[in-house]
Amino acid sequence: MLPDDEELQSVLRQIESIAAVAGLRGSIDRNGGVFVMGFATDGGRSQQVIVRPAGASLDGKRVITISSPAWPLPDADAAALTRELALDLLKRNEKLTFARYGLIAHGPGWVVVASSDLPVDTLDAEEFRLHASSVAEAADTLERAIGPDML
């Protein structure tokens, strides 16, 4: 279940606090309900990393999702995502650590993102850094495979 507004703001502050302790600069986008950071990746590239509240786990713990956009699919039917490419993404998922590829709705179309979920209350700074950089790296790897540094 997704958080109500007070809960949303509370978790966004928690994310900002954890990022600060991890030495990661970012900012809260209150309208979008997310915390946004920038990550430098190999070869002078960069990747936007978004952290958002993701409700509760089965045992009632607060969860956050760290994600980074990798490949925009502007068409409503995601036509560019062929069966071959979709299978390739699933195979890549098995080899990734602390990240996975998925598909989220974006405007009229979709975006392939790399993402990871974490419980926020017990998270330590090193875990947060590791998951955030793994997500950024996974998104950037896919982006490089597809084309220039678009996102």
Partner: protein, 403 residues
């Protein structure tokens, strides 16, 4: 003290959290669906079917006890008292459709004396008198679809309401010793008539529990509906001392101390960092290290440090020793960090840094020298200098927004 004056000494967080829950749309919806369901209507029939209703002809001493309390607490819908067969010491109160039902286990009736029973009955009736039955806390706590913030507030409220109910129990029986015996018997299961439960000794167990919780770094108590029994005893002791002193300010101080103790059962980032008893050693030694940055501890800083010092700390001696060797503060801070058995979460570390900034600002400003010392303290916890700067920027912004 009279039960009729109970609103004057109701535990403030009980009242405040109940108000917040009543104002929550999600909670209102669930209350409406619970009332529409079968709960209140079946409570009385279940009791009539399986338990014994207390009647002057059947259990005269209990009937007298409940009648006496009913007279002191007008306004509670028709009271009925039942005794059910159970070997555990327990009791509960529940709303019927037009009655209030109080039930005691047979073990409770068999093993508690008149004063102890008065405490238990007073406690249960306290729940009814304070309107605790109007919000079905047990149902809400079990509801996984309730927003997390509301779910946490329900648990916090459950614990706070026990403090209020303990007070009515204490006033009802009129004896701290009787309340201690009753609580001890329920907590331990030991029902021998030779039980002598000293309120002070029982309450003293709280400090040992607190020290253990701090050392272990346990943070998994927020799902528990009742405060730890030693905490409840300590809370009753503080309440009795405040009432005996006849000073409303003393009760306010006691309530603040009790709220801080209950804070040890809250999630790691709940409430103001400085009020977190679990982190006092860090705030004291780290705060002293920061205060000595300019070579002297100002009066306002000294007062602040005295307020947050861990129990048993000789503040004057610690300040004097630290004047001579300020680096010992850093060593004590590091000892406290390494001494914790469970690793610190990022949110806990943030609370420590944020709280230290609050202490540094006691004299109205955070100097560059204090920031440099804060970075050394943060380094002990694995926080890089840029992390310290980010938390300081967050602190400055939030203080500015709040002003």
């Amino acid at each position: 003290m009279r039960l009729a004056d109970r609103d004057a000494w109701r535990f403030p967080p009980d009242r405040d959290l109940a108000a917040r829950l009543r104002a929550s749309p999600a909670v209102q919806r669930r209350i409406a669906s619970t009332v529409a369901g079968s709960g209140p209507r079946t409570s009385r029939s279940a009791m009539l079917a399986s338990a014994v209703m207390v009647d002057p002809a059947v259990l005269p001493h209990l009937a007298r006890a409940i009648a006496g309390l009913r007279d002191q607490l007008p306004g509670i819908p028709d009271l009925e008292l039942f005794v059910y067969n159970d070997a555990d010491l327990n009791g509960f109160v529940t709303p019927g459709q037009s009655r209030t039902i109080v039930a005691l286990s047979s073990a409770t009736v068999n093993h508690l004396d008149a004063e102890e029973l008065a405490y238990v009955l007073g406690h249960e009736l306290g729940h009814a008198a304070y309107g605790h039955l109007d919000i079905p806390a047990g149902v809400l706590a079990a509801d996984r679809t309730l927003p997390i913030g509301d779910a946490a507030r329900v648990r916090s409220w459950q614990r706070a309401m026990e403090i209020s109910a303990d007070r009515t129990g204490l006033v009802a029986c009129g004896s701290l010793s009787a309340a201690a015996r009753a609580l001890f018997k329920v907590a331990s299961g030991i029902v021998a008539t030779s039980v002598v439960a000293s309120p002070q000794l029982f309450a003293g167990q709280w400090q040992r529990l607190a020290d253990e919780v701090i050392a272990a770094g346990d943070r998994d108590f927020h799902h528990i509906s009742h405060p730890f029994p030693p905490l409840r005893m300590r809370a009753m002791l503080l309440f009795q001392e405040a009432i005996d002193a006849g000073d409303p300010q003393r009760l306010s101080v006691a309530d603040k101390a009790i709220a801080a103790m209950l804070g040890m059962m809250e999630p790691s980032d709940s409430g103001e960092p400085i009020a977190d008893l679990r982190l006092r050693a860090f705030f004291f030694w780290g705060g002293l290290y920061l205060a000595l940055e300019d070579g002297a501890v100002a009066l306002c800083e000294n007062q602040r440090l005295a307020e947050i010092a861990p129990d048993g700390t000789d503040v004057a001696a610690a300040v004097a020793a630290a004047h001579a060797q300020p680096e010992t503060c850093l060593e004590r801070f590091a000892e406290a960090f390494r001494g914790r058995r469970r690793r610190f979460s990022a949110l806990e570390i943030h609370r420590i840094v944020y709280g230290l900034l609050d202490i540094a600002r006691t004299d109205g400003r955070v100097s560059a020298g204090e920031i440099a010392r804060l970075e050394r303290l943060a380094e002990v916890m694995g926080v890089p200098p840029q992390g310290c700067a980010l938390v300081a920027a967050q602190f400055a912004k939030e203080r500015s927004d709040a002003a």
